[in-house]
């Protein structure tokens, strides 16, 4: 175990735990308005203060964590679910027309930044958390396809794969039974990184109004609410910002730590 991994995993678990607890308990109802008690700075009653409608910020952060985590998780799921099989398939048929087509299609998706995909989807189907998930998910597909193919290609050269082929196993079976387990570490690390990018992307999309819609709380929307009030109530901007930064930082540290932990060769090479 290394320090990055422990620190990163603790931070990530903290926010996941917070989202989990919010299903059963929050200090206040996250949607309850209290105009008389609006714009309170953090105090004993409202630990993180209240917003311009008097809603409890801590409760909103807790429920907002749910939105961030759900969007990022499903988006990574889409990216892995489609990208990994495509990458394995392309590697199994290295150099074929299929390989070439899959890789060119990936390049094409890369030319649409996630935000642009989101804008297109929103323009056509309307804004909402579901469309944000699809947009971020589509962007994740080429990331996983490329990384899987690259790693799988080098595994295909190994002797135990040759042995499996001699034993008469099909390319699909070799991919599932021998290639996938050998590239899994890399994919887990990339998954953590894409997860953190997904949280940043969700926050950005919600901030410009393309993500989660009211009344679903979201860290990005809290920042959008805070924008016009930043001069009189800086805590409204600071708190959701710190939540995003700490979560993303935690996930990135965890990704770095996992990489070192899962692949000791890298640790030697890097130090």
């Amino acid at each position: 175990m290394n320090r990055s991994l422990i620190l990163g995993a603790s931070l990530s678990l903290f926010f996941v735990g917070m989202a989990f607890v919010s299903f059963f308990w929050t200090p206040f109802d996250h949607a309850a308005l209290d105009i008389a008690g609006k714009l309170q700075t953090p105090n004993g009653n409202h630990l993180l203060g209240t917003d311009h409608f008097g809603r409890d910020m801590l409760s909103m952060i807790m429920v907002g964590a749910r939105t961030s985590i759900a969007v990022a998780l499903v988006a990574v799921g889409i990216g892995m679910g489609v990208g990994i099989p495509l990458g394995l398939w392309a590697a199994a048929r290295r150099g074929s027309l299929l390989d070439e087509t899959i890789m060119r299609a990936n390049d094409l998706i890369f030319a649409f930044p996630a935000l642009v995909i989101a804008i297109l989807i929103t323009a056509v189907f309307g804004a909402g958390a579901r469309n944000a998930i699809i947009a971020i998910g589509i962007f994740n597909i080429p990331v996983f396809a490329r990384i899987t193919r690259g790693a799988a290609l080098s595994i295909w050269q190994r002797e135990f794969i040759l042995a499996a082929r001699v034993a008469g196993k099909s390319a699909a079976r070799i991919s599932a039974e021998h290639i996938l387990p050998n590239v899994a570490n890399l994919l887990i690390v990339q998954g953590t990184i894409q997860f953190s990018l997904g949280i940043l992307a969700e926050a950005g999309l919600s901030y410009v109004g393309l993500g989660a819609q009211p009344p679903t709380p979201s860290w990005g929307r809290m920042l959008a609410d805070a924008q016009t009030l930043v001069a009189i109530a800086p805590h409204m901007a600071l708190i959701p910002g710190f939540a995003i930064i700490l979560t993303v930082l935690g996930l990135n540290l965890m990704g770095d730590g996992l990489r070192d932990h899962l692949d000791p060769r890298l640790r030697v090479a890097r130090s």
Binding site: D107, L108, L115, L120, A123, V208, G209, L223, G241
Partner: protein
């Protein structure tokens, strides 16, 4: 080299063609009829029909796609449904904000990242290296629009050095314009600089482990001389790719940052067009963004091949 350029050129054209079909198809499945949207609920059927005819909405899908693409090739982006002005003019006006902003941010991020990356690599494992790496970890975790709000809070509201937003246009003078773009550019540049610094450091470390650096040291160069004379130039290739990739992220990132600073750039245009269902504008702006990404990557690939002949044989 010529063969390589031709090959890349063909794939560039194919990518652009496929991208245009994809964008056209997505906009095509959007519900609603632009003509009835423009005229409102109580439009006469004859007026509606006349407008549909004028906008070319009565043609088949293929004919409309071809009209759109041939228009794009000639620099004619069509007429906005909402404003009835040429889309090309609207985009050109906004581009004068978004493009300088992206270039400004790219310059800043390079100016921050190069020294930081070189500094960290030359002090590998020491406190300076750890400090820079820690800072970059934080840099990639900060959402740029939140950082932008903090810059406004500190430098516009408290210190009053810059205005909190808006853009007076370039007519007020180059420096007035640059001043209005400074906070947005810093906000855009910071996360990119963090990524770039990390790439610079790791690329430099890779190169410093090569045999020719050992040779350079053996013939009497100090570690510092070897780094500057032989290391840096060879470490630039991966850094160039990332700079190329970043340009597209900067253009896209500018869409959000423009919202924070109320800048009249492509980002605001695209959001206004979405809410007005002015889909022809959305279509053209998205095509323009994708076009710039594809072309920038093409140029980066060619630059590489010019710098490093080994890459010409790879695809």
């Amino acid at each position: 080299m010529l063969r390589y350029v031709l090959k890349r050129l063909v794939s560039l054209v194919v990518s652009l063609a496929v991208a245009s079909v994809v964008i056209f198809a997505i906009i095509e499945i959007a519900p609603g009829d632009p003509a009835s949207f423009m005229l409102g609920m109580n439009a006469q059927p004859e007026t509606l029909e006349a407008l549909r005819e004028e906008l070319g909405l009565n043609q088949g899908k293929l004919a409309r796609y071809l009209t759109w693409v041939s228009g794009l090739l000639q620099g004619d982006f069509g007429i906005s449904y909402t404003y009835r002005t040429p889309v090309g003019e609207m985009i050109a006006a906004r581009l004068w904000v978004s493009l300088p902003l992206a270039l400004y941010a790219l310059t800043l991020s390079t100016l921050i990242a190069f020294p930081a990356g070189i500094f960290a690599a030359s002090r590998r494992g020491e406190a300076g290296d750890l400090g820079v790496m820690g800072a970059t970890q934080l840099g990639v975790a900060i959402p740029n629009f939140w950082f932008a709000m903090m810059l406004v809070l500190i430098f516009a509201i408290n210190l009053r050095w810059f205005s909190a937003g808006g853009f007076g246009g370039w007519d007020a003078g180059f420096f007035a314009g640059m001043r209005a773009l400074t906070l947005p550019a810093i906000a855009l540049a910071l996360p990119q600089a963090a990524i770039l610094a990390r790439v610079m450091r790791s690329s430099l470390l890779d190169v410093l482990g090569e045999d020719f650096i050992r040779t350079a040291r053996a013939k009497g160069l100090s570690a510092r001389q070897a780094l500057w004379r032989h290391g840096l130039r060879n470490a630039l290739i991966p850094v160039l790719t990332i700079i190329g990739l970043q340009f597209s992220f900067l253009l896209a990132g500018a869409i959000i940052i423009e919202q924070v600073f109320y800048l009249p750039g492509l980002g605001r245009l695209i959001f206004q067009s979405i809410s007005a269902r002015d889909l022809i504008v959305v279509e053209s702006v998205v095509m323009l963004l994708v076009f710039s990404v594809i072309v920038v990557n093409f140029v980066v690939d060619l630059t590489y091949a010019a710098v490093d002949p080994r890459l010409r044989t790879r695809t």
